[in-house]
Structure formats: structure tokens, C-alpha cells
């Protein structure tokens, strides 16, 4: 026997075990005006200082056939969006039937983009906390929730079901459907929930998780997102700019 052989698989029981998922497609479309996704409907051009990065969008993928034996990585993976990067603008359909365009949002002191969804147990655990954060900070911080999942894989995340959830939970913030999954790819959102917090100048100031205990709000020691917002409201940089949290992988359609 050549050393111990081990396979460790991290799961959550409510996610489908044999879920069909495939790598993201190679090329995401960026529109001529520098925005991604559905651009139907009236909108004004984004402010001059709100432009997405020009370089091609990195692809999240794995092809088991191409993977050889390798060593454990010694450095952190480079995120798609880096701290300090400008916001990537978008215009997506809201649960109220209208398009929401971040470029047209009222000027605020921070902009909090939350990739979340209906079905993921981690997203569900954080729903009430997101509502509470919006209640506390909503007048100063723009909150936007985006569902990045393909409903052909998880029906519970369909636009119709988003409308139902938004009504049930009485969301007072936009809950947008990332049809075509362009925005998720442009941001490098890998899971739900996944937070991207931008400062008043639309620069990325914090990304990652909401706090350090998904199971029990009472046991939270580090409310990362609230701390980052507090810092931005004081005109400071957050002490913690990146955190990692467990979430459900974004559901991407099988390549045919």
C-alpha cells in the first residue's frame, strides 16, 4: 500500500446528491456599453466611473478528464473581482416585473450585492438576517439580491418562485433574476449566499460571507458584513475585506 488513500466529499443533505452540473461556458457576453445581461427596457448609461473590467471573464470549470495528480495549492486563488475593482453594472428583471438597473439606483454610501436564491439551505438561514441588515442600513446602503441559479436545474429557483418567496418574506429590496447567468460569471459568484459590498465610489470594499455562524445568529462573533458596512459609513476601509463561507454552488446548466 502506497500511503493512505482518502476521498473526502463535503455535502449538505438537502442538496441533490447526484446533481447534474457542468462547468460554465467559456465566453460570457459583455454588451457594447460595458454592462452584462438583459439590457431591454429604458435605462440611462452607467455613470462614467462605473465600468466593468475590460479583460475577459475568467472561467470556473473543471474537466475531470484533464485533471492530473497535483499538489495542494500554497496560495489563495485569484478572485474574479478584486478588492478595489469597480462595480460591474447590470440591468435585471426584478420580482415586481420591472427591470432594475444598478446604474439608476439612488446615490448611496455603499452598495451591497447579495447572490442568493430560494432553495439553498444556507441562503434560507440568512434570509432573516439580510432583511434585518436592510432594515438597519437600507436608507444609507443599497441592497440588491440576485438569484444566479438556472431554474432548469433547480425549479425552486425559478422567477415565479422568486416572486412567491419575495412576497412570503416581504422583501423590501430588489430580488433579481440573473437570466443567462452573465452577472454571476462577471462577478465570479461561486455560491449562495455570496456578498459583494461596494463603497460610495462603486469600488469593491468587501466580499465573502455575511457572518461567522450560519447556523445560529445568536452565536455570531464576527458580523463581517455589518462591520464592513459600519466602516464604509464612517468613511473607513473595512478591517476584514475578504472572508470565505460555505454556500451552495451556483447551479449552471449542463453543456450539451
Amino acid at each position: 500500500m502506497k500511503g493512505i488513500f482518502l476521498a473526502l466529499i463535503f455535502i449538505v443533505s438537502s442538496s441533490a446528491f447526484a446533481q447534474i452540473e457542468m462547468p460554465l461556458t467559456k465566453n460570457s457576453v459583455m454588451k457594447k456599453d460595458g454592462t452584462y445581461g438583459d439590457q431591454k427596457g429604458k435605462q440611462s448609461p452607467p455613470p462614467a466611473d462605473v465600468m466593468p473590467p475590460k479583460e475577459p471573464i475568467p472561467v470556473l470549470q473543471h474537466d475531470p478528464a484533464q485533471i492530473g495528480n497535483k499538489k495542494r495549492p500554497t496560495v489563495e486563488a485569484e478572485p474574479v473581482l478584486k478588492i478595489g475593482d469597480k462595480i460591474i453594472t447590470f440591468s435585471l428583471k426584478n420580482v415586481d416585473g420591472k427591470n432594475y438597473n444598478i446604474s439608476n439606483a439612488k446615490k448611496k454610501k455603499a452598495y451591497c450585492i447579495i447572490f442568493t436564491c430560494n432553495h439553498c439551505p444556507f441562503s434560507v438561514k440568512y434570509e432573516d438576517r439580510i432583511i434585518a441588515l436592510h432594515k438597519k442600513y437600507g436608507s444609507k446602503v443599497e441592497f440588491v439580491a440576485i438569484n444566479p441559479n438556472d431554474p432548469s436545474i433547480v425549479e425552486e429557483d425559478s422567477y415565479e418562485n422568486m416572486i412567491i418567496r419575495a412576497k412570503e418574506k416581504n422583501f423590501k429590496f430588489p430580488y433579481l433574476f440573473d437570466e443567462g447567468q452573465f452577472i454571476m460569471k462577471a462577478y465570479g459568484a461561486r455560491k449562495t449566499p455570496h456578498i459583494f459590498l461596494f463603497d460610495k465610489d462603486y469600488k469593491l470594499a468587501y466580499m465573502g460571507g455575511i457572518d461567522d455562524n450560519s447556523d445560529d445568529p445568536e452565536s455570531v462573533e464576527q458580523p463581517y458584513l455589518a462591520n464592513a458596512i459600519d466602516a464604509l459609513l464612517k468613511g473607513q476601509k473595512p478591517d476584514v475585506e475578504i472572508t470565505k463561507a460555505i454556500g451552495c454552488s451556483v447551479k449552471v446548466k449542463k453543456k450539451s
Binding site: S13, P64, P121, K244
Partner: protein
């Protein structure tokens, strides 16, 4: 092979045990009860963003980490086949 469940501790009886039973998972299943994710995700693999399902396969120094689900059983089999098992 070990399955590491990230369910909440409170869900062992209501979700995890039925899940293991219904899916007839005949492999060791553990509950990873460490909610401070930021403290350990990178210790498993620095490239891991934290999405699940995720799979680590290793033998000695050789290490493969997949942050995705498998479409087919054979996809997981192919990865395991890359290791020399005697």
C-alpha cells in the same frame, strides 16, 4: 471515502439521517460541526471558495480538489483512478 456533511447540528435527526438512509449511502458520513467557516475553508484547500459539493482526493503528497458536483459517477471514478491504489 468519507462524506462530510455541513448540515446544522440541529438537523442530524430531521435531515441528515433520513438523507443517508434514503440515498442508501453506505459510506462513512460525518457531521462537520465547525460553523466558523472562514477559519478552516482555506486550510482544506486554498483555492476553495466555499461552495459545496466539493471533493478532495489525496494520497500522500498528491492532491486533487474539485469545487463542483459530478455529472456522472464515472467522473469521480476517473479522478480516483489517477491514484495508484495497491
Amino acid at each position: 471515502m468519507i462524506l462530510a456533511s455541513l448540515d446544522a447540528k440541529s438537523m442530524i435527526k430531521s435531515k441528515l439521517e433520513p438523507f443517508v438512509h434514503i440515498n442508501q449511502i453506505g459510506i462513512e458520513t460525518i457531521l462537520l460541526d465547525e460553523p466558523n467557516y472562514n477559519r478552516w475553508i482555506s486550510k482544506v484547500d486554498k483555492s476553495w471558495e466555499g461552495s459545496i459539493p466539493a471533493t478532495a482526493v489525496w494520497q500522500g503528497e498528491n492532491w486533487i480538489f474539485i469545487e463542483d458536483s459530478f455529472e456522472l459517477y464515472s467522473d469521480l471514478q476517473n479522478i480516483i483512478d489517477k491514484f495508484e491504489i495497491h
